[in-house]
Every structure is written in structure tokens, then in C-alpha cells.
């Protein structure tokens, strides 16, 4: 009953406040997804319309997604450090994927900082990779959360 456990808390045996922390972390990590998706769609819109404001918009969306991903990564890293005894199976994978998201997102921010068409064609390619990395990080992180809940 993964869904129920998200509401009630604690069936995985974790202290209640720790479960809340885990879920908050998941929310932060997942919220970057729609922003990164928006980045990709805006890049696409610029490429197909030449309306330059789309690429400026993509720049901001990527910056927003990147900021959330950085928070999620720092959070994950702190958790790794503060609770080494809980180091279970694939916990590091979600952290690593978050790190990849942040690196690619930063790269994408620099590419989008170029004026107009100078960001092309690297911009949509990077935006897609960032989106995939962020999605993977979220899936792995949520699976872990759900897995705990069912255990």
C-alpha cells in the first residue's frame, strides 16, 4: 500500500519525521521535471518559429529546474553523509542521477546564455538529456521511497 503509506507515514518502520523528510525530498526532486520539460518544449518552439523570446523563456525554465535539482542534490548528499548506516542497495543511484542532472543543467544554462540562434542545436539536445536525467533520478528516488513503504 504505497499510496496509503504516503498519507499515513511510518509503515516502513522509519520514524515519522524521517518519512516526511524523505517525501519532501522526493517532492523537490520531482518538481524540477515540469520545468525541464518546459525548457525542451520552449527550445522546440524557438526552433520552429524563430520567435526569440522562446529561447529566453527556455533559459529561465532551465534555471528554475536547475535550482530545484541543486537543492535536491544537496539534500541527498547530506542524507548520505548523515545516515551512512542506512546505506541500502540503490540509494546512491538516485544521488548520482541528481548529480548528472545538475551537471547537464549547468551546461545547458551556459548554452542558453548564448544570444539567439547561437544556442542551437545544442540547446534542445541538452534539454532532452537533462529531462531524461531528472526523470531517471525521480523514478529511482520514488521507487526507493515506495519500496521502503512496502517492505
Amino acid at each position: 500500500m504505497a499510496v496509503n503509506s504516503l498519507v499515513s507515514g511510518g509503515p516502513d518502520g522509519l520514524p515519522r519525521n524521517e518519512a516526511t523528510t524523505l517525501r519532501m525530498h522526493a517532492v523537490v526532486a520531482c518538481s524540477s521535471l515540469p520545468l525541464f520539460l518546459g525548457t525542451l518544449l520552449s527550445d522546440w518552439a524557438y526552433a520552429s518559429t524563430y520567435q526569440v523570446q522562446w529561447t529566453n523563456f527556455a533559459d529561465w525554465l532551465n534555471a528554475g529546474g536547475l535550482m530545484l535539482a541543486v537543492v535536491a542534490l544537496v539534500w541527498a548528499a547530506l542524507a548520505e553523509i548523515s545516515q551512512p548506516w542506512r546505506r541500502s542497495g540503490r540509494r546512491w543511484l538516485a544521488t548520482a542521477l541528481l548529480a548528472v542532472t545538475v551537471v547537464l543543467g549547468t551546461l545547458n544554462a551556459f548554452v542558453h546564455a548564448k544570444d539567439g540562434w547561437a544556442a542551437m542545436p545544442a540547446a534542445p539536445v541538452l534539454s532532452l538529456l537533462v529531462l531524461l536525467a531528472a526523470a531517471a533520478a525521480s523514478v529511482v528516488g520514488l521507487a526507493r521511497l515506495g519500496g521502503r513503504a512496502q517492505a
Partner: protein, 430 residues
């Protein structure tokens, strides 16, 4: 012309295979026979001036000239005008305030501000007077205040024209006056939305019937969209009497200073070209401004070199793009131009243009930060530039940044320095 071409640029570094270093200062001038390919990594190269005080020192002039600070503690002096009685009028101000468009603007704005003065925009005109002719400007008055980032100045008869960042205005002026007798009358509104490049350069036509106004673009290369570029990146002709305006020449990215060449009575401009294509692209330039000519921005640079950053591209505009007359080192940022007085005593500087180079940011090796002299013969550039006023940078620190230059009837060159907020007078030694 052949001799002129012979002084073609040497791209010292570009000639060496695999060398991505930047050409040394002073190599990219005059005619351009070969431009490097656009280059640039993830981040534009930036070297920002680190300000330091002059501490009693002064810039260096050639032998036979003495340099004096005739006014200090101004509020961002940009352009000057020497009035018929020898008084110097100084336009003080800082305009702009374009809204942040992308995250880059926050960061770049913060970094670039480190290389400029902390003084607030004066929004005023200051008048300096040397009543006894000893070279010391003991008189100092605020001629007018409450202006909006005044920049270009021109006098036609008894009318003093001031180009604010949003409008061309006019004061009545009588010789000897130290204070405007009435408030400014608006002659013509100037394009002022966003005002990314806010300076409005100004010069009067030789017959006094028209004024030419330099209007900069609203972006580096169209990244705000082309709608906001309407009536930007061009020189306007304004009827001095009626205020009627029309585009005179277009595609000039940021024409920061205008002057009339005294022999051919031809309009010339210095123009700041685009950034982020590499250390030796795109050359800034000094050019005669031909009526109806299109100088490329944003579609092309230095003639018909297509700028790939602009979409949609415009082939017809690219084909129309003319090559400017005289390249100035890329990124050196010319902000002032003035032609030598006809009766100059010093034969070295008898015919030609003084150009104030504010200095670069988009380059790891700084360039500019000096006033150069471009020699002319029969109204056309005739050779490589000569350093006229140097020493604005020392030991990695920057004491001053030249902006407007003006030649006074006594043969002295007046240089506005908007970092140390000083007016320098470079006068022939007696």
C-alpha cells in the same frame, strides 16, 4: 588607396596554426582583408577593469603636450562641447536600466558594474571656464539639471541642443551664459523603449539645418526580438527647426559618437560592434555615414559576413550591407570622435580624427583604454593610428576610461573620463 590597403591588419596570432590566443593590442586597425572565424566557448571571455585612483598621476600624451585635469568629481561625464568663447560644456549621466531579460543579464550586469564608476548619474550639464586663458578652468557652474541621461551636445547659432536618452531638447544660449535661462524645449522624441544602448550621440550638420542623432540597438544581436529594434541601430536626421525626423543610415549597431569631417563636410561615426563572436570579432569602426546606407546589423558584420545568431536571416539585407571605412580593434569600444582643428599647429595631428576608446570587457587581453589619432588625408583615413593619450591602465589596475573627445580652438583635446569622473585637457605645450 593601395598604400592604405598595405597597412592591412596583421592578425599576429590567427596566422599561427592552432593558436587561439588573442592578437596583441593595436594590431587590428584600418582596412580588413581577413577576419577570423567566429569562436567562443561556453562562456564569453571577460576581463573587467579593476578601478584604482589616479592619486595625482595623469594619462600620458605625446611629447609637446601637457595633460591637466580641468575638472574632477563630476557625475559620470560622457561628452563635451567647446562653446565659441572657449567654455567647456560637459554632459553628465548614465542611462539605460533595461530590464533583465535572461539569467545572464543578472550576472553580467553585476560583473560589468565593477569596472565602472560608483557615481550616480548627474543628469546635468556642467560648464567650465578658463577666463584668463592660463589653461586652468577656475570657473565651474551647473548649466542645467534635471535632464535624463544627457549625452550628445551641439550648438547651432543661439540654440544649444542636448540629446537626452529619450528626447532631443533645446536651450537658448548666449555667449558667456553660465546657467540656462529657461527650461528645455523638446525638439523631437527619440526611441527610448528599453534603451539597452541608451546613449544618443549628436552633431549638427555643417549648414546648421539638421542634427544627426546616433541611436544604439536594443540588444547585442537581436536577442530581444526585432520588434523592439524599430528605429534602433541607426543615425537619424532631425530638422533643427521643425523637429521632423527620418532615418539617415541604418544597421549601425551602436553609433556612440558623431562628427563632421571639416574638409569634405562629411558625417562620420564611431560604432561599437557586436560581442561574443571571439576576441577579434567584430571590429568596431570609424566610418563615413552615407545616406541610405545599411551597415549590416544585426544580419551581417563588416560587409556581408553573415551573423549565424540571427533567425530568421535576411539575405536581401546581407547583400545590402556595406563595409565600413576604418576598423578599430574589436571590443575596444570607441565612445568619442573629434576631428583635428583646421589650423592645428602640430603637424603630427593636423588632419585626422581623435578617437576615445573606452576599453574592452569581452576579451581576456584588454584593449582600448586610450585615445588614438587616426590620420586623414583629403578627408579620408590615410594610415595606421597613433596613440595620443595612454596610461589609463597600469599594473592591472584601471585609473580611467576615456569617453568623449573634443578639440578646442586653441588646439587642445578635451577628454571625458567616466571612471575617475574627470575632464582631461591635453594642450600643446607653449
Amino acid at each position: 588607396m593601395k598604400a592604405y590597403l598595405a597597412l592591412a591588419l596583421s592578425f599576429a596570432c590567427a596566422a599561427l596554426a592552432g593558436c587561439s590566443e588573442e592578437a596583441a593590442d593595436g594590431t587590428q586597425f584600418g582596412a580588413v582583408d581577413r577576419l577570423p572565424e567566429p569562436s567562443g566557448g561556453l562562456m564569453p571571455s571577460m576581463t573587467i577593469a579593476e578601478p584604482a585612483a589616479w592619486a595625482g598621476k595623469a594619462p600620458h600624451a605625446p611629447e609637446g603636450f601637457t595633460v591637466t585635469a580641468v575638472a574632477t568629481d563630476l557625475l559620470v561625464p560622457r561628452q563635451t562641447l567647446v562653446l565659441p568663447n572657449g567654455d567647456i560644456l560637459v554632459a553628465e549621466g548614465k542611462g539605460g536600466g533595461a530590464p533583465v531579460l535572461t539569467p545572464k543579464d543578472y550576472i553580467a550586469g553585476f560583473i560589468k558594474a565593477k569596472g565602472t564608476t560608483k557615481a550616480k548619474s548627474g543628469d546635468r550639464l556642467t560648464l567650465l571656464r578658463d577666463a584668463d586663458g592660463d589653461g586652468k578652468y577656475e570657473g565651474r557652474w551647473v548649466f542645467a539639471e534635471g535632464l535624463d541621461a544627457p549625452y550628445g551636445l551641439a550648438l547651432i547659432g543661439s540654440h544649444l541642443f542636448v540629446a537626452n536618452q529619450d528626447a532631443l531638447v533645446r536651450f537658448d544660449y548666449q555667449p558667456g551664459q553660465t546657467r540656462a535661462s529657461s527650461s528645455a524645449v523638446t525638439v523631437a522624441l527619440l526611441p527610448s523603449a528599453v534603451n539597452h544602448h541608451w546613449t544618443k550621440a549628436l552633431v549638427a550638420s555643417p549648414d546648421g539645418r539638421h542634427l544627426y542623432v546616433g541611436i544604439g540597438s536594443n540588444s547585442n544581436v537581436g536577442e530581444r526580438g526585432m520588434e523592439i529594434e524599430e528605429n534602433r541601430a541607426m543615425v537619424w536626421e532631425v530638422d533643427a527647426r521643425t523637429g521632423a525626423t527620418r532615418p539617415y543610415a541604418t544597421g549601425l549597431r551602436n553609433p556612440t559618437a558623431l562628427a563632421i569631417e571639416p574638409r569634405q563636410k562629411q558625417l562620420w561615426a564611431v560604432v561599437n560592434e557586436r560581442d561574443e563572436l571571439g576576441p577579434n570579432l567584430v571590429p568596431d569602426y570609424l566610418t563615413s555615414v552615407r545616406e541610405h546606407a545599411f551597415y549590416g546589423w544585426p544580419y551581417a558584420y563588416w560587409g556581408q559576413n553573415v551573423d549565424p545568431r540571427v533567425r530568421p536571416q535576411d539575405d536581401a539585407k546581407v547583400r545590402k550591407s556595406v563595409v565600413p571605412d576604418y576598423a578599430l580593434q574589436s571590443h575596444s569600444a570607441p565612445l568619442g570622435v573629434a576631428f583635428a582643428a583646421a589650423g592645428s599647429a602640430d603637424s603630427r595631428f593636423a588632419e585626422g580624427a581623435f578617437v576615445g576608446l573606452h576599453g574592452s570587457w569581452n576579451r581576456s587581453v584588454p584593449v582600448g583604454y586610450k585615445v588614438i589619432f587616426v590620420p586623414f588625408r583629403d578627408g579620408r583615413p590615410s594610415g595606421p593610428p597613433v596613440d595620443f593619450l595612454t596610461g589609463f591602465q597600469q599594473d592591472g589596475k584601471t585609473m580611467g576610461r576615456p569617453v568623449g573627445v573634443t578639440v578646442d580652438p586653441r588646439g587642445a583635446v578635451i577628454v571625458a573620463d567616466d571612471l575617475s569622473n574627470t575632464i582631461w585637457r591635453v594642450a600643446p605645450s607653449r
